[in-house]
């Protein structure tokens, strides 16, 4: 049967089902197929903190959204065009996001009376006409899968049922003309130890693909042409992966040993797990007994001449504060990564937010300045990690690197960097010299103190969290010395401004509104700005990587516009800083829903200021 092929510029698909339905795997496989096909893409895995909430329940619904296009894109998409709902609960929790006229593919077998009731529907929505405004494909995914697998030996009926996600993947792969070989190869590797499971999954996948081809339910196949991206070799990458690679690269570029101290916490654990796999690079990973020991051990590694790193999320970062303060006083390198998540206390562990900015800037006793930078996209976590390490090593200071739950797990195509072109990081350990060693004499340019590591003869010295006399580092209670040391520590961090690029502005001629963003909102903010421009609005955009210190031209940039909009997933933290530091009466756009901004809401917020 020959079917009509329709061209589309971009598509957003959301897969939704029980946490145990394999939705994340289905989504990531579709992502791989799409990446290999050559579309630009962005993904948003969206899962509950509970590993497997009761089957069929609303809290147990796990989702995965992918936006792919024939042009370059910046976000995982505002709303899906296609929703794949594996059960009534998945339909109930996701249908509100599907615009009228959108495509719904549902597993009709999963809409039993029990499941329908459990999801809170009075009657089966596939039958009561309530979905009339949508293009509904009620496909008996489970029974079609079980039927296709019935003659494979060694596969239990439960295992057969569980292959239904591959049937769904096959069907959607056909619908959008995705290549099938990579998924088949993936399944062969993943289940290599159980050939019958390989057979079942491949059969289900192929059956789903064939169902699309032959079923009359699907009259149209869609084509989304490859995007004209910057030439080069690409791979997919998530933020946690890119951040891990960046840390490994930084250690290699500086010639020091990488030590990660971490305690398992969502959504940062992926970095610990990724780095633990790279012992061949000499990476030492230490799963500590608590967050405090994790950062303490990292600081101990730095004292020994290593690159000490500790990764966590907000609830863990607050526990590390005292040790970060010690690193401020000791003036030793340390990188602390805060993969931000939503809410105070435990909050919503798997959802993104950017409300730890003021915490990492000011959440320590006394005057204890710490440089802070934030990654903009999943792939940008690589460069941001190198940058954090470079500043920490060069200025002998703790540095906070901010990521978030969206960047951590979101994937995007990544132009593989030429690692040979990344500048080396020059540390300059203190070397044995004549005369008395003074551990707190400063480099005139960076104000950094010497980093004298154990094993260096003649440089034996003691350092402490107690206030130190300038130059000698001996314990000092002298009032004037404390004032001087406080200022020197602040000046050292401020001096980093010489080492970071000026704020880059995506300026539009005639614009009198500037949007100032930071961190993981880069994608939707840039996409929102594009929308405004497409509809004739004039607006400029600047994105901050460094939050402390601010790039040297930040004040000039802000003051050269009549109005400044600061969109943030918090209640106005950068906004406060902009007002305090630059006396600019900027406007905030603030939402905390545990979901990335939509490009459309940013566009609306901008238009309100035009």
């Amino acid at each position: 049967m020959v079917k009509r092929v329709e061209q589309l510029e971009s598509v957003v698909i959301r897969f939704a089902g029980d946490s145990g339905d394999g939705v994340q795997l289905t989504g990531s496989r579709f992502t791989s197929e799409t990446a290999l096909f050559g579309n630009d893409l962005a993904t948003l895995p969206d899962f509950p903190a509970e590993i497997r909430a009761p089957a069929g329940s609303l809290p147990g619904v796990s989702g995965f959204q992918i936006h792919f296009a024939a042009h370059d894109i910046l976000t995982p998409g505002d709303a899906p065009n296609v929703l794949v709902a594996m059960n009534p609960a998945a339909l109930k929790t996701n249908l509100g996001d599907l615009p009228k006229g959108g495509t719904l593919i549902a597993d009709a077998d999963a809409f039993s009376d029990r499941n329908v009731k459990r999801a809170g529907y009075p009657a089966n929505p596939l039958q009561d006409g309530s979905l009339d405004g949508y293009q509904v494909h009620a496909v008996p995914l489970t029974s079609l899968t079980v039927g296709a697998l019935k003659d494979i030996e060694g596969v239990t009926s439960r295992e057969a049922e569980r292959s239904k996600n591959m049937f769904a993947l096959g069907l959607v792969s056909w619908l959008f003309g995705r290549p099938t070989e990579p998924t088949i190869a993936f399944l062969e590797t993943k289940f290599a130890k159980r050939p019958e499971i390989v057979a079942a999954n491949v059969r289900a996948f192929n059956a789903g693909y064939a169902f699309g081809e032959t079923s009359e339910s699907f009259a149209v196949q869609y084509e989304v042409r490859p995007a004209p991206l910057t030439p080069g070799r690409y791979r997919q990458i998530t933020g946690n992966q890119a951040l891990s690679y960046g840390l490994i690269a930084a250690a290699k570029l500086s010639g020091v040993r990488l030590f990660l101290g971490a305690y398992p916490i969502t959504p940062a654990s992926g970095i610990l797990e990724e780095l633990a796999r790279h012992k061949s690079f000499g990476v030492r990973t230490f799963q500590a007994e608590d967050e405090i020991a994790a950062v303490g051990a990292a600081l101990g590694a730095s004292f020994g001449g290593g690159l000490g790193v500790s990764t966590s999320a907000g609830p863990g970062v607050v526990l590390k504060s005292e040790t970060v303060g010690l690193a401020v006083a000791l003036e030793l390198p340390l990188v602390i990564v805060d993969v931000q998540r939503a809410g105070p206390s435990t909050g919503m562990p798997t959802k993104p937010e950017q409300a730890d900015l003021l915490l990492v800037l000011f959440g320590r006793n006394s005057e204890s300045p710490v440089p802070v930078l934030a990654a903009a996209t999943p792939g940008d976590c690589f460069g941001a990690a190198i940058e954090a390490a470079r500043i920490a090593l060069r200025y002998r200071t703790p540095v906070y690197l901010l990521s978030d739950a969206y960047l951590a797990n979101g994937a995007e195509p990544w132009l593989i960097p030429d690692v040979g072109a990344i500048p080396r990081i020059d540390i300059g350990f203190a070397e044995p010299g004549d005369g008395e060693f003074l551990p707190y004499v400063r480099d005139p340019e960076t104000l950094a103190r010497p980093w004298a590591i154990p094993g260096t003869p003649g440089l034996e010295h003691r350092i402490s969290g107690l206030e130190k006399a300038n130059e000698t580092g001996n314990v000092s209670y002298d009032p004037e010395n404390h004032d001087l040391m406080t200022r020197l520590r602040a000046q050292k961090v401020a001096a980093i401004v010489q080492d970071i690029p000026p704020l880059d502005v995506d300026h539009q001629e005639g614009a009198d509104v500037l949007v100032l963003s930071w961190g993981g909102t880069y994608g939707p903010v840039a996409a929102g700005v594009r929308r405004v421009r497409r509809s004739g609005g004039r607006v400029s955009h600047a994105h901050l990587r460094w939050l402390n210190p601010f790039p040297r031209n930040t004040g000039d940039v802000l003051r050269s516009y009549d109005r400044v909009l600061v969109p943030e997933m918090n209640l106005g933290q950068l906004l406060k800083l902009v007002r305090a530091e630059f006396l600019v009466d900027a406007h905030g756009y603030n939402r905390l829903r545990g979901k990335p901004f939509k490009a459309s809401e940013i566009a609306s917020a901008v238009r309100a200021l035009l």
């Binding site: 030439p231 791979r235 990292a298 590694a301 094993g455």
Partner: protein, 303 residues
Amino acid sequence: MAAGPKLTAKEFKSDQEVRWCPGCGDYAILASMQSLMPELGLERERIVFISGIGCAARFPYYMQTYGMHSIHGRAPAIATGLAVTRPDLSVWVVTGDGDALSIGGNNLIHALRRNVNVKILLFNNQIYGLTKGQYSPTSVRGTVSGSTPAGSVDYPFNPLSVALGAEATFVARAIDTDKPGLTNVLRRAAAHRGTAFVEIYQNCNIYNDGAFDFAREQKENRLYLEHGSPAGETGIVHDETELATAFALSRVTYETHGVVPLGVFRAVERDSYDDLVQAQLDAARGKDDLAALVASGDTWDVG
């Protein structure tokens, strides 16, 4: 470790003025440590003392080695990171009863459990000295202190029982002023590969004077342990390799038996955490091509 140059105790004294109270037991411990150090044959630059907070935590300032005076309770964690990153160093932790067993309890037991190659010296004076005399987690019940004017009501930790409960591979006890006994224990601790835990009875003559007089002054109450020999009248034949024996001896106190066991309670060989980490690193060595790492997994070409 390679034999270092011949040094003297004097060369292990830093130029810092010692600031403990006159009469403090810490002076005797410092002197014993400084005179033992040359005998160990280590280069000064390969020795590191890490401490937390408290009177004992000032110890690193007075040693002409590398040192860090850190924050309350965290010395075992900091030392762990250092030892794992730098297996070539001799890493010592100096701590007190509040630092190790209250605020740092978790970090202490996990260091002991892991068997990190670190020597932990717990100066036990059964009181918070630096904060001016509050009762500590090792204070005897009924201790009248600034924070317990009517006497403390909680049961104290027995530091050796805690360490043995965490299955520390080397556990010993000594008295600050007992130079031969202390030196003997420190010498064996230094030679131990893995975590060595040493409780040192240390007299705080300001806030808890005489807490250990039953053993410090009344020497007849000291019971020096010898591997393979009966431990006094306790009916226990000492075996350093037997955890149950060590634990039983840790329960022998002046109150229960009229004697205080001193010396090495337990010494067993077990792979140290940092050695095992290093072995995994050595086994994985070879593939460290950064370009290959960033280009791993499925890739595709554009243009």
